[in-house]
């Protein structure tokens, strides 16, 4: 599991782990039912306090992203999909916000953006339809 911790980022480390695991699940890099590293292993891998990892895992468990199996590790939830969908929408919303902000600065109207989206989308559609 690839997690990058940055002290330059303001978000507390546990929050950085929570966000990145959610992202990995939402983007499919972590599959449902896949085991995530034990607390101690991740703490040593990232050289961070094990309590911080424990707190991140607890938050992920509360959010339904992962499930702890008694004495057998922590796994990505089978029922993780509704959250994963919400998370996907959240990730995409951020990208759209950035796109809109840029478009407004450039003086491009919404209709024009929508047309452009359709235009870009069409070739992808036929490709994935095959």
């Amino acid at each position: 599991m690839q997690i990058n911790i940055s002290a330059k980022e303001g978000a507390p480390i546990y929050q950085q782990i929570v966000n990145q695991v959610k992202y990995l699940v939402a983007s499919g890099r972590l599959a449902t039912g896949e085991e995530i590293p034990p607390i101690r292993a991740l703490a040593e891998q990232l050289t961070i306090n094990p309590n911080t990892v424990a707190r991140a895992y607890l938050e992920l468990e509360r959010a339904g992203v992962v499930t702890k199996r008694h004495g057998a590790g922590t796994y990505v939830s089978e029922s993780g999909s509704p959250l994963a969908r919400r998370e996907r929408v959240r990730i995409l919303t951020r990208r759209i916000d950035a796109l809109l902000a840029e478009a407004i600065n450039m003086g491009i109207e919404l209709d024009e953006i929508v047309d452009l989206l359709r235009e870009r989308h069409a070739p992808l559609q036929t490709r994935s339809g095959k």
């Binding site: 507390p12 040593e44 309590n51 707190r55």
Partner: protein
């Protein structure tokens, strides 16, 4: 000064109202802090802020002039054996006997500690790549730090005290030291207190934090609570400003023209109300890095610090 987020219950170290003068210089000013069992407690501050003086009181090397220091509930000055036999200590200067060989150093140190674990010591020696036949004085800085760490760890102390453990060391040795801290708390639920001016490593490994400035605690509590109580607000004004008025909720104000950045601690709403009156819009709000928090607190004059120390 007391902080609400820590209590004396189950504290391995309890320091209450500790003050200390060296001549006319006030080195510690009414310092109170509690280190909970099983925590990694990071002590940060500039050089000369009083970190080492505080650690020396915890070790019983200095006697409290006023206030009290208790370690495992005992007074380290009155009962040095009762305290120090459970404390692993690595000093900033790593003052090891230079003429000894590594194996002699282990043998010598072992005699002081009934709880010395020779298998663990050997395991650490191999892991740290220390040659048993090498003389201490011939070891590199990094190897001396590892040797010091080895003898601080090998009797599995209940409390590990590290004074600037990674100062002057390369990243590889620093990582070994951080890993040792992590294993110490992960393995056995022991307690670690370490001082450092490297804030990124403090943020990584500690869960409790105290910030000391000119002998006074300016922040003390759980690291995540400290972080989450601070905010960095980016402001936009309709017209360029030459300066912003000082606001009591703001720890630091910087910027120019239409865009300004304000750092605050726990009084976000009150601050936003004053900002609105100035005609500012908040365009970005983030949790600042520990570095920014530290600089903002250290940059304030001593008198100003009083009103902003309590966490929300």
């Amino acid at each position: 000064m007391t902080f609400p987020s820590t209590s004396s219950a189950d504290a391995v170290i309890a320091v209450t109202g500790l003050s200390r003068c060296f001549g006319s210089k006030l080195a510690l000013d009414e310092v109170s802090l509690f280190v909970p069992r099983g925590s990694v407690f990071g002590l940060v501050g500039e050089n000369g802020a009083g970190k080492t003086t505080l650690i020396k009181h915890i070790l019983g090397l200095l006697k409290a002039e006023s206030g009290s220091v208790r370690v495992f509930g005992k007074n380290p000055v009155a009962d040095p054996v009762g305290v120090l036999s459970h404390v692993g200590y690595l000093s900033e200067h790593r003052d090891l006997p230079a003429w000894m060989r590594v194996d002699q150093l282990l043998c010598y140190t072992r005699a002081f500690y009934p709880g010395w674990d020779p298998h663990y010591a050997e395991q650490l020696r191999e892991q740290f790549g220390l040659d048993p036949a090498a003389r201490v004085k011939t070891l590199s800085q990094g190897q001396q730090a590892k040797a010091g760490l080895l003898i601080a760890l090998a009797f599995r102390p209940e409390l590990l005290l590290l004074d600037e453990p990674s100062s002057g060391l390369d990243p590889v040795v620093r990582r070994d030291i951080l890993e040792a801290i992590i294993r110490t708390v992960a393995d056995e639920g022991r307690t670690v207190l370490f001082s450092s001016h490297l804030l990124d490593e403090v943020e990584r490994v500690s869960d409790q934090l105290a910030m000391i400035h000119h002998g006074r605690l300016v922040l003390c509590g759980r690291l995540d609570e400290i972080k989450e109580s601070h905010r960095r607000l980016v402001l936009r004004f309709d017209s360029p400003q030459t300066a912003l008025p000082s606001m009591k909720q703001a720890l630091s104000i910087r910027g120019s023209g239409r865009e300004w950045t304000v750092l605050c601690n726990g009084e976000r709403n009150a601050l936003c109300a004053s900002l609105q009156q100035l005609g500012a819009r908040v365009v970005d709000e983030q949790i600042p890095s520990l570095d920014e928090i530290f600089v903002a607190h250290a940059g304030r004059k001593a008198g100003e610090a009083e009103s902003s120390t309590a966490l929300s």
